[in-house]
Symmetry: C2
Subunit: 255 residues, 2 copies
Amino acid sequence: MVQLQRVAIAQTQISNRHIDLTAEQQHYLGRVLRLQAGDRFIVIDGSGHWWLAQLLVMLPAPPPQAEILEEISVQNQELAIEVRLGVSLPKTGFDEVVRYCTELGVSQIVPLISQRTVLKPSSQKVERWRRIIREAAEQSERQIIPTLLDPLPFEKALADGLGLNLTSTSQQYICVARGDLPHLYGCMSQSGGDAIAIFTGPEGGWTSAEVEMATACGFQAVSLGRRILRAVTAPVVALSCVSTIAEMKARSPDC
Amino acid sequence: MVQLQRVAIAQTQISNRHIDLTAEQQHYLGRVLRLQAGDRFIVIDGSGHWWLAQLLVMLPAPPPQAEILEEISVQNQELAIEVRLGVSLPKTGFDEVVRYCTELGVSQIVPLISQRTVLKPSSQKVERWRRIIREAAEQSERQIIPTLLDPLPFEKALADGLGLNLTSTSQQYICVARGDLPHLYGCMSQSGGDAIAIFTGPEGGWTSAEVEMATACGFQAVSLGRRILRAVTAPVVALSCVSTIAEMKARSPDC
Protein backbone atom coordinates (compact mmCIF):
# COMPACT_ATOMS: atom_id res chain seq x y z
CA MET A 1 0.00 0.00 0.00
CA VAL A 2 1.34 3.41 -0.92
CA GLN A 3 0.52 6.58 0.93
CA LEU A 4 -0.85 8.67 -1.90
CA GLN A 5 -3.39 11.44 -1.65
CA ARG A 6 -6.57 11.14 -3.72
CA VAL A 7 -7.93 14.08 -5.66
CA ALA A 8 -11.36 13.92 -7.24
CA ILE A 9 -11.65 15.45 -10.71
CA ALA A 10 -14.23 15.68 -13.43
CA GLN A 11 -13.68 13.58 -16.57
CA THR A 12 -13.67 16.84 -18.55
CA GLN A 13 -10.48 17.93 -16.76
CA ILE A 14 -8.50 15.20 -18.52
CA SER A 15 -7.32 15.75 -22.05
CA ASN A 16 -4.66 13.58 -23.68
CA ARG A 17 -3.20 12.46 -20.30
CA HIS A 18 -2.90 16.07 -19.15
CA ILE A 19 -4.95 17.10 -16.13
CA ASP A 20 -6.28 20.63 -16.13
CA LEU A 21 -6.20 21.35 -12.35
CA THR A 22 -8.59 23.94 -10.95
CA ALA A 23 -7.22 26.82 -8.88
CA GLU A 24 -8.57 25.12 -5.74
CA GLN A 25 -6.91 21.82 -6.63
CA GLN A 26 -3.63 23.63 -7.29
CA HIS A 27 -3.95 25.31 -3.90
CA TYR A 28 -4.79 22.01 -2.20
CA LEU A 29 -1.95 20.00 -3.74
CA GLY A 30 0.65 22.76 -3.48
CA ARG A 31 -0.20 24.72 -0.35
CA VAL A 32 -2.13 22.30 1.84
CA LEU A 33 -0.48 18.97 1.02
CA ARG A 34 2.83 20.64 0.05
CA LEU A 35 3.47 18.28 -2.85
CA GLN A 36 6.50 19.04 -5.03
CA ALA A 37 7.07 18.65 -8.77
CA GLY A 38 7.47 14.93 -9.46
CA ASP A 39 5.34 13.90 -6.47
CA ARG A 40 2.63 11.39 -7.26
CA PHE A 41 -1.00 11.33 -6.25
CA ILE A 42 -4.15 9.49 -7.20
CA VAL A 43 -6.81 10.98 -9.39
CA ILE A 44 -10.34 9.58 -9.16
CA ASP A 45 -13.33 10.48 -11.27
CA GLY A 46 -15.96 9.35 -8.77
CA SER A 47 -17.22 6.56 -10.99
CA GLY A 48 -14.68 3.89 -10.23
CA HIS A 49 -11.68 5.02 -12.27
CA TRP A 50 -8.41 5.61 -10.48
CA TRP A 51 -5.25 6.96 -12.08
CA LEU A 52 -1.74 7.42 -10.81
CA ALA A 53 -0.79 11.02 -11.58
CA GLN A 54 2.30 13.17 -11.21
CA LEU A 55 2.71 16.86 -10.43
CA LEU A 56 4.72 18.73 -13.07
CA VAL A 57 5.37 22.33 -12.00
CA MET A 58 5.05 23.93 -8.60
CA LEU A 59 3.93 27.16 -7.04
CA PRO A 60 4.87 29.98 -6.59
CA ALA A 61 6.20 29.80 -10.15
CA PRO A 62 3.74 28.93 -12.92
CA PRO A 63 0.69 27.15 -11.48
CA PRO A 64 1.18 23.40 -11.06
CA GLN A 65 0.12 21.05 -13.81
CA ALA A 66 -0.31 17.31 -13.66
CA GLU A 67 -0.23 14.37 -16.00
CA ILE A 68 -1.62 10.87 -15.81
CA LEU A 69 0.94 8.06 -15.57
CA GLU A 70 -1.29 4.98 -15.63
CA GLU A 71 -4.70 3.68 -14.68
CA ILE A 72 -4.81 1.83 -11.36
CA SER A 73 -6.70 -1.40 -10.96
CA VAL A 74 -7.89 -1.81 -7.39
CA GLN A 75 -10.39 -4.00 -5.66
CA ASN A 76 -12.01 -0.96 -4.26
CA GLN A 77 -13.05 -1.04 -0.60
CA GLU A 78 -13.08 2.74 -0.46
CA LEU A 79 -16.19 4.85 -0.02
CA ALA A 80 -17.53 6.24 -3.29
CA ILE A 81 -17.61 9.64 -1.61
CA GLU A 82 -14.63 11.62 -0.32
CA VAL A 83 -15.14 12.48 3.34
CA ARG A 84 -13.25 15.32 4.99
CA LEU A 85 -13.89 15.41 8.70
CA GLY A 86 -13.27 18.44 10.89
CA VAL A 87 -13.23 17.38 14.54
CA SER A 88 -13.04 19.94 17.30
CA LEU A 89 -10.31 18.43 19.47
CA PRO A 90 -11.70 16.65 22.55
CA LYS A 91 -9.78 16.72 25.85
CA THR A 92 -9.07 13.00 25.55
CA GLY A 93 -10.00 10.24 23.15
CA PHE A 94 -8.77 11.61 19.83
CA ASP A 95 -6.82 8.34 19.41
CA GLU A 96 -10.18 6.58 19.21
CA VAL A 97 -11.58 9.16 16.77
CA VAL A 98 -8.79 8.73 14.23
CA ARG A 99 -8.75 4.94 14.59
CA TYR A 100 -12.51 4.41 14.16
CA CYS A 101 -12.88 6.98 11.40
CA THR A 102 -9.99 5.51 9.42
CA GLU A 103 -11.63 2.09 9.62
CA LEU A 104 -14.88 3.62 8.43
CA GLY A 105 -13.41 5.18 5.30
CA VAL A 106 -12.58 8.84 6.09
CA SER A 107 -10.35 10.61 3.53
CA GLN A 108 -9.00 13.47 5.59
CA ILE A 109 -9.19 14.47 9.25
CA VAL A 110 -8.67 18.05 10.39
CA PRO A 111 -8.32 18.69 14.14
CA LEU A 112 -10.17 21.94 14.76
CA ILE A 113 -9.41 24.54 17.40
CA SER A 114 -12.83 25.96 18.28
CA GLN A 115 -13.85 28.32 21.07
CA ARG A 116 -14.42 25.54 23.61
CA THR A 117 -11.42 23.47 22.57
CA VAL A 118 -9.12 22.92 25.52
CA LEU A 119 -6.40 20.64 24.13
CA LYS A 120 -3.37 22.21 22.47
CA PRO A 121 -1.64 19.14 21.05
CA SER A 122 2.13 18.86 20.74
CA SER A 123 3.63 17.89 17.38
CA GLN A 124 4.52 14.50 18.94
CA LYS A 125 0.82 13.97 19.63
CA VAL A 126 -0.06 14.79 16.01
CA GLU A 127 2.61 12.34 14.80
CA ARG A 128 1.18 9.69 17.14
CA TRP A 129 -2.28 10.19 15.58
CA ARG A 130 -0.75 9.84 12.09
CA ARG A 131 0.85 6.56 13.18
CA ILE A 132 -2.49 5.28 14.50
CA ILE A 133 -4.12 6.22 11.18
CA ARG A 134 -1.48 4.33 9.18
CA GLU A 135 -1.91 1.24 11.36
CA ALA A 136 -5.69 1.39 11.22
CA ALA A 137 -5.65 1.84 7.42
CA GLU A 138 -3.49 -1.25 7.03
CA GLN A 139 -5.54 -3.27 9.51
CA SER A 140 -8.80 -2.43 7.79
CA GLU A 141 -7.33 -3.02 4.31
CA ARG A 142 -7.85 0.51 3.01
CA GLN A 143 -6.49 1.45 -0.41
CA ILE A 144 -5.45 4.87 0.83
CA ILE A 145 -4.15 6.22 4.09
CA PRO A 146 -6.24 9.16 5.25
CA THR A 147 -4.46 12.48 5.72
CA LEU A 148 -4.31 14.15 9.13
CA LEU A 149 -3.73 17.88 8.77
CA ASP A 150 -2.11 19.95 11.49
CA PRO A 151 -4.65 21.50 13.90
CA LEU A 152 -6.48 24.41 12.28
CA PRO A 153 -8.48 27.26 13.80
CA PHE A 154 -12.21 26.76 13.24
CA GLU A 155 -12.59 30.01 11.27
CA LYS A 156 -9.76 29.12 8.94
CA ALA A 157 -11.18 25.64 8.27
CA LEU A 158 -14.57 27.21 7.56
CA ALA A 159 -13.16 29.78 5.19
CA ASP A 160 -11.80 27.22 2.77
CA GLY A 161 -14.45 24.56 3.54
CA LEU A 162 -11.65 22.05 4.19
CA GLY A 163 -10.59 22.61 0.59
CA LEU A 164 -13.95 21.39 -0.59
CA ASN A 165 -15.03 24.45 -2.56
CA LEU A 166 -13.94 22.36 -5.51
CA THR A 167 -17.18 21.32 -7.07
CA SER A 168 -20.68 22.64 -7.07
CA THR A 169 -21.93 19.28 -5.81
CA SER A 170 -19.98 19.29 -2.55
CA GLN A 171 -21.91 19.01 0.69
CA GLN A 172 -20.90 20.69 3.93
CA TYR A 173 -22.46 19.83 7.29
CA ILE A 174 -21.95 20.94 10.86
CA CYS A 175 -23.29 18.47 13.46
CA VAL A 176 -25.07 20.15 16.36
CA ALA A 177 -26.06 18.25 19.52
CA ARG A 178 -29.33 19.90 20.51
CA GLY A 179 -32.19 21.49 18.64
CA ASP A 180 -34.73 20.21 16.19
CA LEU A 181 -32.49 19.78 13.18
CA PRO A 182 -32.74 17.46 10.17
CA HIS A 183 -30.72 14.25 10.42
CA LEU A 184 -27.44 13.94 8.54
CA TYR A 185 -28.64 10.70 6.94
CA GLY A 186 -31.78 12.28 5.49
CA CYS A 187 -29.90 15.27 4.12
CA MET A 188 -27.16 13.16 2.56
CA SER A 189 -29.61 10.68 1.04
CA GLN A 190 -31.26 13.49 -0.86
CA SER A 191 -28.00 14.97 -2.12
CA GLY A 192 -25.63 13.90 -4.81
CA GLY A 193 -22.00 14.83 -5.08
CA ASP A 194 -18.73 13.04 -4.61
CA ALA A 195 -17.27 14.96 -1.68
CA ILE A 196 -18.47 15.95 1.76
CA ALA A 197 -17.18 18.00 4.67
CA ILE A 198 -18.50 17.24 8.17
CA PHE A 199 -17.68 19.20 11.31
CA THR A 200 -18.27 17.82 14.81
CA GLY A 201 -17.98 19.86 17.99
CA PRO A 202 -16.05 19.82 21.27
CA GLU A 203 -17.20 18.94 24.80
CA GLY A 204 -19.88 21.47 25.61
CA GLY A 205 -20.69 21.88 21.93
CA TRP A 206 -20.21 24.68 19.47
CA THR A 207 -21.04 28.23 20.54
CA SER A 208 -24.10 29.59 18.77
CA ALA A 209 -21.81 32.14 17.11
CA GLU A 210 -19.82 29.28 15.61
CA VAL A 211 -22.93 27.56 14.26
CA GLU A 212 -24.09 30.85 12.72
CA MET A 213 -20.69 31.43 11.20
CA ALA A 214 -20.72 27.94 9.67
CA THR A 215 -24.19 28.28 8.18
CA ALA A 216 -23.20 31.67 6.75
CA CYS A 217 -20.32 29.83 5.03
CA GLY A 218 -22.70 27.36 3.38
CA PHE A 219 -22.62 24.62 6.01
CA GLN A 220 -25.92 22.98 6.88
CA ALA A 221 -26.60 22.36 10.58
CA VAL A 222 -27.66 18.75 11.10
CA SER A 223 -28.43 16.30 13.90
CA LEU A 224 -26.92 12.87 14.60
CA GLY A 225 -29.99 11.82 16.57
CA ARG A 226 -31.80 12.76 19.74
CA ARG A 227 -29.31 11.13 22.06
CA ILE A 228 -26.54 13.28 23.51
CA LEU A 229 -23.21 12.01 22.16
CA ARG A 230 -19.73 12.65 23.53
CA ALA A 231 -17.34 14.72 21.42
CA VAL A 232 -15.45 11.48 20.74
CA THR A 233 -18.55 9.54 19.68
CA ALA A 234 -20.08 12.11 17.31
CA PRO A 235 -17.46 11.78 14.51
CA VAL A 236 -17.66 7.97 14.70
CA VAL A 237 -21.43 8.07 14.34
CA ALA A 238 -21.19 10.60 11.50
CA LEU A 239 -18.76 8.33 9.64
CA SER A 240 -20.94 5.26 10.28
CA CYS A 241 -23.81 7.20 8.80
CA VAL A 242 -21.86 8.27 5.70
CA SER A 243 -20.50 4.77 5.14
CA THR A 244 -23.99 3.28 5.44
CA ILE A 245 -25.35 5.72 2.87
CA ALA A 246 -22.47 5.06 0.48
CA GLU A 247 -23.01 1.32 0.93
CA MET A 248 -26.75 1.53 0.33
CA LYS A 249 -26.32 3.67 -2.78
CA ALA A 250 -23.72 1.26 -4.20
CA ARG A 251 -25.93 -1.79 -3.78
CA SER A 252 -28.66 -3.22 -5.87
CA PRO A 253 -31.99 -2.93 -4.06
CA ASP A 254 -31.70 -6.35 -2.45
CA CYS A 255 -32.43 -6.45 1.26
CA MET B 1 -32.97 8.53 36.82
CA VAL B 2 -33.95 5.12 38.10
CA GLN B 3 -32.37 1.90 36.96
CA LEU B 4 -35.44 0.05 35.76
CA GLN B 5 -35.63 -2.60 33.11
CA ARG B 6 -37.98 -2.06 30.19
CA VAL B 7 -40.24 -4.81 28.92
CA ALA B 8 -42.16 -4.42 25.71
CA ILE B 9 -45.72 -5.73 25.73
CA ALA B 10 -48.70 -5.69 23.43
CA GLN B 11 -51.61 -3.43 24.39
CA THR B 12 -53.79 -6.56 24.50
CA GLN B 13 -51.77 -7.89 27.44
CA ILE B 14 -53.11 -5.14 29.70
CA SER B 15 -56.54 -5.53 31.23
CA ASN B 16 -57.73 -3.39 34.13
CA ARG B 17 -54.17 -2.52 35.27
CA HIS B 18 -53.22 -6.21 35.30
CA ILE B 19 -50.48 -7.33 32.91
CA ASP B 20 -50.83 -10.79 31.46
CA LEU B 21 -47.15 -11.75 31.11
CA THR B 22 -46.16 -14.31 28.49
CA ALA B 23 -44.13 -17.36 29.52
CA GLU B 24 -41.06 -15.79 27.90
CA GLN B 25 -41.56 -12.53 29.78
CA GLN B 26 -41.97 -14.43 33.04
CA HIS B 27 -38.73 -16.28 32.31
CA TYR B 28 -36.94 -13.06 31.38
CA LEU B 29 -38.05 -11.09 34.45
CA GLY B 30 -37.67 -13.94 36.91
CA ARG B 31 -34.78 -16.05 35.66
CA VAL B 32 -32.67 -13.69 33.57
CA LEU B 33 -33.11 -10.37 35.41
CA ARG B 34 -33.83 -12.10 38.75
CA LEU B 35 -36.49 -9.62 39.79
CA GLN B 36 -38.36 -10.37 43.02
CA ALA B 37 -41.98 -9.78 44.01
CA GLY B 38 -42.40 -6.05 44.61
CA ASP B 39 -39.62 -5.11 42.20
CA ARG B 40 -40.51 -2.47 39.68
CA PHE B 41 -39.92 -2.33 35.96
CA ILE B 42 -41.07 -0.29 33.00
CA VAL B 43 -43.63 -1.55 30.54
CA ILE B 44 -43.67 -0.02 27.07
CA ASP B 45 -46.12 -0.68 24.29
CA GLY B 46 -43.82 0.40 21.48
CA SER B 47 -45.98 3.36 20.52
CA GLY B 48 -44.80 5.87 23.08
CA HIS B 49 -46.61 4.74 26.24
CA TRP B 50 -44.54 3.92 29.27
CA TRP B 51 -45.88 2.55 32.54
CA LEU B 52 -44.26 1.88 35.86
CA ALA B 53 -45.16 -1.71 36.77
CA GLN B 54 -44.61 -4.00 39.72
CA LEU B 55 -44.02 -7.74 39.92
CA LEU B 56 -46.54 -9.51 42.16
CA VAL B 57 -45.63 -13.17 42.57
CA MET B 58 -42.39 -14.94 41.85
CA LEU B 59 -41.13 -18.19 40.46
CA PRO B 60 -40.75 -21.06 41.26
CA ALA B 61 -44.13 -20.73 42.96
CA PRO B 62 -47.08 -19.64 40.83
CA PRO B 63 -45.87 -17.84 37.71
CA PRO B 64 -45.19 -14.14 38.23
CA GLN B 65 -47.88 -11.59 37.58
CA ALA B 66 -47.56 -7.86 37.24
CA GLU B 67 -49.68 -4.79 37.67
CA ILE B 68 -49.44 -1.26 36.39
CA LEU B 69 -48.75 1.40 39.01
CA GLU B 70 -48.85 4.56 36.90
CA GLU B 71 -48.18 5.94 33.46
CA ILE B 72 -44.81 7.60 33.07
CA SER B 73 -44.42 10.88 31.27
CA VAL B 74 -40.96 11.14 29.77
CA GLN B 75 -39.36 13.31 27.21
CA ASN B 76 -38.33 10.26 25.35
CA GLN B 77 -34.79 10.17 23.97
CA GLU B 78 -34.89 6.39 23.75
CA LEU B 79 -34.88 4.44 20.52
CA ALA B 80 -38.34 3.30 19.44
CA ILE B 81 -36.88 -0.18 19.02
CA GLU B 82 -35.45 -2.38 21.76
CA VAL B 83 -31.91 -3.42 20.87
CA ARG B 84 -30.25 -6.43 22.44
CA LEU B 85 -26.64 -6.69 21.44
CA GLY B 86 -24.57 -9.86 21.69
CA VAL B 87 -20.88 -9.01 21.43
CA SER B 88 -18.27 -11.71 21.22
CA LEU B 89 -15.75 -10.48 23.80
CA PRO B 90 -12.72 -8.79 22.20
CA LYS B 91 -9.28 -9.16 23.79
CA THR B 92 -9.29 -5.46 24.71
CA GLY B 93 -11.59 -2.54 24.14
CA PHE B 94 -14.87 -3.79 25.62
CA ASP B 95 -14.90 -0.62 27.77
CA GLU B 96 -15.31 1.32 24.54
CA VAL B 97 -18.01 -1.03 23.26
CA VAL B 98 -20.25 -0.63 26.30
CA ARG B 99 -19.67 3.14 26.50
CA TYR B 100 -20.41 3.89 22.82
CA CYS B 101 -23.35 1.50 22.59
CA THR B 102 -24.95 2.91 25.74
CA GLU B 103 -24.71 6.39 24.26
CA LEU B 104 -26.29 5.12 21.06
CA GLY B 105 -29.34 3.65 22.75
CA VAL B 106 -28.71 -0.08 23.33
CA SER B 107 -31.15 -1.83 25.70
CA GLN B 108 -29.14 -4.87 26.70
CA ILE B 109 -25.58 -6.05 26.11
CA VAL B 110 -24.61 -9.70 26.33
CA PRO B 111 -20.90 -10.57 26.29
CA LEU B 112 -20.65 -13.75 24.22
CA ILE B 113 -18.10 -16.52 24.58
CA SER B 114 -17.62 -17.78 21.03
CA GLN B 115 -15.07 -20.23 19.63
CA ARG B 116 -12.45 -17.57 18.94
CA THR B 117 -13.08 -15.60 22.14
CA VAL B 118 -9.90 -15.34 24.17
CA LEU B 119 -10.90 -13.15 27.12
CA LYS B 120 -12.35 -14.79 30.22
CA PRO B 121 -13.43 -11.75 32.21
CA SER B 122 -13.36 -11.69 36.01
CA SER B 123 -16.49 -10.61 37.88
CA GLN B 124 -14.66 -7.37 38.77
CA LYS B 125 -14.30 -6.68 35.07
CA VAL B 126 -18.02 -7.23 34.50
CA GLU B 127 -18.82 -4.89 37.40
CA ARG B 128 -16.48 -2.30 35.88
CA TRP B 129 -18.38 -2.52 32.57
CA ARG B 130 -21.68 -2.06 34.45
CA ARG B 131 -20.26 1.07 36.10
CA ILE B 132 -19.18 2.46 32.70
CA ILE B 133 -22.69 1.79 31.37
CA ARG B 134 -24.31 3.63 34.28
CA GLU B 135 -22.01 6.61 33.81
CA ALA B 136 -22.51 6.67 30.04
CA ALA B 137 -26.30 6.43 30.44
CA GLU B 138 -26.30 9.42 32.77
CA GLN B 139 -23.92 11.41 30.59
CA SER B 140 -25.98 10.83 27.47
CA GLU B 141 -29.27 11.52 29.31
CA ARG B 142 -30.80 8.11 28.74
CA GLN B 143 -34.14 7.28 30.35
CA ILE B 144 -33.02 3.74 31.08
CA ILE B 145 -29.74 2.18 32.01
CA PRO B 146 -28.95 -0.71 29.67
CA THR B 147 -28.53 -4.13 31.24
CA LEU B 148 -25.23 -5.99 30.97
CA LEU B 149 -25.75 -9.72 31.41
CA ASP B 150 -23.02 -12.04 32.65
CA PRO B 151 -20.96 -13.57 29.82
CA LEU B 152 -22.90 -16.28 28.01
CA PRO B 153 -21.74 -19.11 25.72
CA PHE B 154 -22.62 -18.36 22.10
CA GLU B 155 -24.82 -21.46 21.74
CA LYS B 156 -26.82 -20.59 24.84
CA ALA B 157 -27.41 -17.02 23.65
CA LEU B 158 -28.52 -18.35 20.27
CA ALA B 159 -30.89 -20.87 21.77
CA ASP B 160 -33.02 -18.26 23.48
CA GLY B 161 -32.34 -15.51 20.92
CA LEU B 162 -31.29 -13.20 23.76
CA GLY B 163 -34.78 -13.64 25.16
CA LEU B 164 -36.23 -12.15 22.00
CA ASN B 165 -38.47 -15.04 20.96
CA LEU B 166 -41.18 -12.87 22.44
CA THR B 167 -42.98 -11.59 19.42
CA SER B 168 -43.34 -12.73 15.87
CA THR B 169 -42.04 -9.37 14.66
CA SER B 170 -38.61 -9.64 16.30
CA GLN B 171 -35.55 -9.42 14.08
CA GLN B 172 -32.33 -11.32 14.68
CA TYR B 173 -29.10 -10.55 12.84
CA ILE B 174 -25.56 -11.86 12.94
CA CYS B 175 -22.96 -9.48 11.47
CA VAL B 176 -20.34 -11.21 9.34
CA ALA B 177 -17.17 -9.43 8.16
CA ARG B 178 -16.60 -10.93 4.71
CA GLY B 179 -18.80 -12.25 1.96
CA ASP B 180 -21.41 -10.71 -0.25
CA LEU B 181 -24.16 -10.25 2.29
CA PRO B 182 -27.04 -7.76 2.43
CA HIS B 183 -26.43 -4.69 4.58
CA LEU B 184 -27.97 -4.47 8.06
CA TYR B 185 -29.49 -1.09 7.18
CA GLY B 186 -31.32 -2.42 4.12
CA CYS B 187 -32.68 -5.43 5.99
CA MET B 188 -33.84 -3.40 8.96
CA SER B 189 -35.44 -0.71 6.78
CA GLN B 190 -37.64 -3.33 5.18
CA SER B 191 -38.69 -4.91 8.48
CA GLY B 192 -41.07 -3.83 11.16
CA GLY B 193 -41.04 -4.94 14.76
CA ASP B 194 -40.18 -3.37 18.05
CA ALA B 195 -37.24 -5.50 19.12
CA ILE B 196 -33.99 -6.60 17.54
CA ALA B 197 -31.09 -8.87 18.44
CA ILE B 198 -27.70 -8.24 16.82
CA PHE B 199 -24.62 -10.40 17.23
CA THR B 200 -21.10 -9.17 16.37
CA GLY B 201 -18.03 -11.41 16.25
CA PRO B 202 -14.59 -11.65 17.85
CA GLU B 203 -11.15 -10.90 16.41
CA GLY B 204 -10.75 -13.31 13.53
CA GLY B 205 -14.51 -13.47 13.06
CA TRP B 206 -17.07 -16.17 13.66
CA THR B 207 -16.29 -19.71 12.54
CA SER B 208 -18.41 -20.81 9.60
CA ALA B 209 -20.01 -23.39 11.92
CA GLU B 210 -21.13 -20.56 14.18
CA VAL B 211 -22.67 -18.60 11.31
CA GLU B 212 -24.49 -21.74 10.14
CA MET B 213 -25.73 -22.42 13.64
CA ALA B 214 -27.05 -18.85 13.92
CA THR B 215 -28.87 -18.92 10.60
CA ALA B 216 -30.39 -22.28 11.56
CA CYS B 217 -31.72 -20.53 14.68
CA GLY B 218 -33.43 -17.85 12.60
CA PHE B 219 -30.66 -15.26 12.56
CA GLN B 220 -30.02 -13.48 9.28
CA ALA B 221 -26.36 -13.02 8.27
CA VAL B 222 -25.73 -9.37 7.34
CA SER B 223 -22.87 -7.04 6.43
CA LEU B 224 -21.82 -3.76 8.03
CA GLY B 225 -20.09 -2.63 4.83
CA ARG B 226 -17.16 -3.63 2.67
CA ARG B 227 -14.53 -2.26 5.01
CA ILE B 228 -12.96 -4.63 7.52
CA LEU B 229 -13.91 -3.49 11.03
CA ARG B 230 -12.27 -4.40 14.31
CA ALA B 231 -14.26 -6.49 16.79
CA VAL B 232 -14.57 -3.32 18.90
CA THR B 233 -15.80 -1.16 16.03
CA ALA B 234 -18.46 -3.52 14.61
CA PRO B 235 -20.96 -3.19 17.50
CA VAL B 236 -20.58 0.61 17.49
CA VAL B 237 -21.29 0.75 13.76
CA ALA B 238 -24.24 -1.65 14.15
CA LEU B 239 -25.73 0.57 16.86
CA SER B 240 -25.13 3.73 14.80
CA CYS B 241 -26.98 2.03 11.98
CA VAL B 242 -29.93 1.02 14.16
CA SER B 243 -30.16 4.45 15.74
CA THR B 244 -30.11 6.13 12.33
CA ILE B 245 -32.94 3.90 11.10
CA ALA B 246 -34.99 4.53 14.23
CA GLU B 247 -34.38 8.24 13.84
CA MET B 248 -35.34 8.28 10.16
CA LYS B 249 -38.52 6.29 10.77
CA ALA B 250 -39.55 8.62 13.60
CA ARG B 251 -39.17 11.75 11.52
CA SER B 252 -41.42 13.43 9.08
CA PRO B 253 -39.94 13.24 5.60
CA ASP B 254 -38.16 16.58 5.86
CA CYS B 255 -34.55 16.58 4.81
